[in-house]
C-alpha cells in the first residue's frame, strides 16, 4: 500500500469528486459538488492557490487531502492541520500515515511555526485516534466553539510542538 502526498491538479477532479462522499461531507467542511464544473472551480479557487494543500494518494490516485494553514500576526507561531479521507479507505491507518509524513517536514518548511494544532468534534473518535497515534497532545475541550451546518459544537484542541529550536 503506497501512500504519497502531492499537490492537486485540475485533472484530479474525478478522483476528488469520488472520495468526497456523503460520509466525508457529513464530518468535514467539504460539501457535495453538484457538478464537474463545481468541483473544478473548487480546485482552482480554493485548493490550488492554498499555501499548502496535498492530495493523499493511494497507488498514485487521490483518495483524500491534507493541508497546513500557517498563522500570521500574533498567530504566526502556529499552523492548523486539516485532513479528510474517502470513507471506503477508513480504518486502515492511511490518514495516520499521511499525518506522520506531514509532521516529519512541516516545521522545516515553515520555520516560524512552533505549534501545529487542530480542533476535532468531541464525537469524532476516529480523527482523535489519528492525532493521538501521530503524537498530538489533547489540550482540552472547547465548549460551543464552532458552528457547523447550523449547529454549535464542542471540540477538542490538539497540538504538536516543533522539536527544532
Amino acid at each position: 500500500m503506497e501512500i504519497a502526498l502531492r499537490p492537486y491538479q485540475v485533472s484530479d477532479v474525478e478522483d476528488f469528486m469520488e472520495w468526497c462522499d456523503d460520509e466525508v461531507v457529513r464530518l468535514s467542511r467539504l460539501r457535495h459538488f453538484t457538478s464537474r464544473e463545481d468541483a473544478v472551480s473548487y480546485l482552482k479557487e480554493t485548493v490550488i492557490p492554498h499555501p499548502w494543500y496535498r492530495a493523499i494518494c493511494l497507488d498514485n490516485r487521490p483518495i483524500g487531502f491534507i493541508s497546513i494553514t500557517p498563522g500570521s500576526g500574533d498567530e504566526r507561531c502556529r499552523g492548523r492541520i486539516t485532513y479528510a479521507l474517502g470513507s471506503k479507505y477508513w480504518g486502515q491507518g492511511i490518514t495516520t500515515v499521511a499525518v506522520k509524513k506531514v509532521i516529519s517536514t512541516v516545521f522545516e518548511e515553515f520555520p516560524s511555526m512552533q505549534r501545529l494544532e487542530t480542533i476535532v468534534d468531541v464525537d469524532n473518535k476516529r480523527s482523535q485516534r489519528v492525532l493521538e497515534k501521530s503524537g498530538f497532545l489533547k489540550e482540552g475541550v472547547l465548549r460551543k466553539y464552532v458552528i457547523f451546518k447550523g449547529n454549535i459544537y464542542d471540540v477538542i484542541m490538539y497540538s504538536l510542538l516543533s522539536t527544532l529550536t
Binding site: 504566526r76 507561531c77 489540550e139 472547547l142 460551543k144 464552532v146 454549535i152 497540538s159
Partner: protein, 163 residues
C-alpha cells in the same frame, strides 16, 4: 470594602485617564497589545473604538475611567464566539474590580450581542492574577494551549477559559 464600579462607553476626553493604565508597562506586560507611548496613538485608538468596536467599555470609579473591558466577537462563522479582555490601572489592583467588571460585562454582553454563544478569555500562563479573576467570575478553565501566540518577541503559553 468593595468599590462601586460602573461601565460606560469611552469618550475622547478620557484619553489621559486611558494613558493611566494603557501607558503602564506593568499593566500591559501580559497584554497582546503594546504599551501606549503617545497621547496621539491613544486618541487614534479611542476614536476607532468609539466608532466601530462592537462592545468596549470604560471601567469607572466615581465616573472616572480606571480601566477598560471589551468583548470582541469573531468574524463570519466565528461571530458566536467572543473574546473578553480587560486591563485596570495598577493602583486599583487587588480589590476585586476586574472580577466585578467581568461579571457585569458577561451578564450584559449575551443580551446585547445576540449572536454570542461563547465568551472566552485567553490568559498568559504566567498571569495567575488574571486567571483568578476569570475563575471567580465563573469561567471554566478548559486547558493550556502551548505556544499559542507570538507576542513581544516570544511564543506564549495561554490558558483558555470560557463562559
Amino acid at each position: 470594602k468593595p468599590i462601586k464600579i460602573t461601565l460606560r462607553p469611552f469618550k475622547l476626553c478620557d484619553v489621559d485617564d486611558f494613558m493611566g493604565w494603557a501607558g503602564d508597562n506593568l499593566v500591559t506586560q501580559y497584554c497582546r497589545w503594546d504599551t501606549y507611548t503617545s497621547r496621539d496613538d491613544a486618541l487614534d485608538f479611542l476614536n476607532q473604538v468609539i466608532g466601530s468596536h462592537p462592545w468596549y467599555r470604560a471601567i469607572c470609579v466615581s465616573d472616572r475611567p480606571i480601566g477598560s473591558i471589551y468583548v470582541m466577537p469573531g468574524i463570519g462563522k466565528d461571530q458566536r464566539r467572543g473574546e473578553i479582555g480587560y486591563a485596570i490601572s495598577a493602583k486599583y489592583w487587588g480589590r476585586g474590580i476586574s472580577t466585578e467588571a467581568v461579571k457585569m460585562a458577561t451578564s450584559c454582553v449575551f443580551k446585547e450581542l445576540k449572536c454570542l454563544e461563547r465568551v472566552e478569555g485567553l490568559v498568559f500562563a504566567e498571569n495567575e492574577a488574571s486567571q483568578r479573576v476569570l475563575e471567580k467570575a465563573g469561567f471554566l478553565r478548559e486547558g493550556l494551549l502551548r505556544k499559542y501566540f507570538f507576542v513581544k518577541g516570544m511564543s506564549r503559553d495561554i490558558v483558555v477559559y470560557s463562559m
